[in-house]
Symmetry: C2
Subunit: 184 residues, 2 copies
DNA sequence: GTCTATATTCCGATAGAC
DNA sequence: GTCTATCGGAATATAGAC
């Protein structure tokens, strides 16, 4: 992937988190990169093509992190996962799912499919992390690991949304209580 | 408030939940109501004015519900609150906060202030409900009622977002586990 | 691979008649 | 209170030169 193309994807990712997919334009990308709007269209013919690439990049990052964290105990893995969200919170940004889910109905079928894949991958990773962690006595919780994974993910997602509106303490309070609940 | 004005607000509310604030246009409102785009501008000069009215309507509804539920025990009040979200889920819609929070940075200061007020009111209501409920032995949970309220609200919010992407079972699983955790 | 230039469409918003 | 008509601008996107 060319350097310009990488910069475009990286900036689009930032804009989606900051303003939402439907609120940013090609101009928001071409101007800071000091290229013309047509140059962005060369790399990504339509806005949905660009959106799909952003989600695919996130999928690659998730896979990379999962691999990198494999050697850690499950509570350590979970802390790393929380750390990713804390970083977003400190930047005042929301997560990709939290930004794209409300816009889901306005996305192309191909991009919807990618967002669906992203959600599935995250839920599967979290489910496995909690399941293994409970088996190794590093987590303690009631109910199925799948249901618990949904709860944890939804808490992290919304903690960033609430932090936008109520200030960053929302993330701190939610994540701390969440870890305490899991006995981690 | 005139009948037309009420219909505009009601439709705008629906559109914000369905497509997001930045993805709907005055045309999406004027066409179904069979009036001209200028008629909408007469009632709400700018889009932000319309958005503010939608949030204010939601605030009035919250206040009305809180009053209506006052006679119920706290677990009954919580179930009513969950019921509101279940209804949105069945309609395939997200909640107002879940839709507007990602767009927060693109809103006018006046509208941001309204969204902030809405978030505060919801958190305060939930905090009080959990606090009183615990005192009356109807809920059992660790930590402060305020932190727990943030967790419950973020779970409900994101359960609708996840249901968009993963199907309505996400809401069912999250809300059931949530009630179980509270011992309600 | 990036440019200039432009097509097309749609948007939010306003002026002024009725 | 709703209309017609229109403005000014911005959006996505394309054609074709370099």
């Amino acid at each position: 992937m060319s350097e310009t193309k990488e910069k475009i994807v990286s900036l689009a990712d930032k804009l989606i988190r900051e303003k939402g997919f439907n609120a940013f334009s090609y101009k928001d990308i071409s101007e800071p990169l000091q290229v013309k709007n047509a140059a962005v269209h060369y790399h990504f013919p339509t806005k949905m093509d660009l959106g799909i690439e952003v989600v695919e990049q996130e999928l690659r990052l998730l896979s990379l992190n999962a691999e990198k964290w494999k050697k850690l105990p499950e509570d350590g893995q979970l802390l790393k996962f929380f750390g990713v969200f804390r970083k977003h919170c400190n930047n005042g940004n929301v997560c990709l799912m939290g930004s794209l889910a409300p816009d889901y109905e306005t996305l192309s079928p191909a991009m919807r499919e990618k967002v669906h894949e992203m959600a599935s991958v995250i839920v599967e990773w979290m489910t496995s992390c909690l399941e293994q962690g409970r088996k190794h006595k590093r987590f303690h919780f009631k109910g199925s690991a799948g249901d618990r994974a949904l709860l944890v993910i939804s808490n992290l997602q919304s903690s960033l949304l609430l932090s936008r509106v109520l200030g960053p303490s929302a993330f701190t309070r939610i994540s701390r209580q969440l870890l305490e609940d899991l006995g981690a």
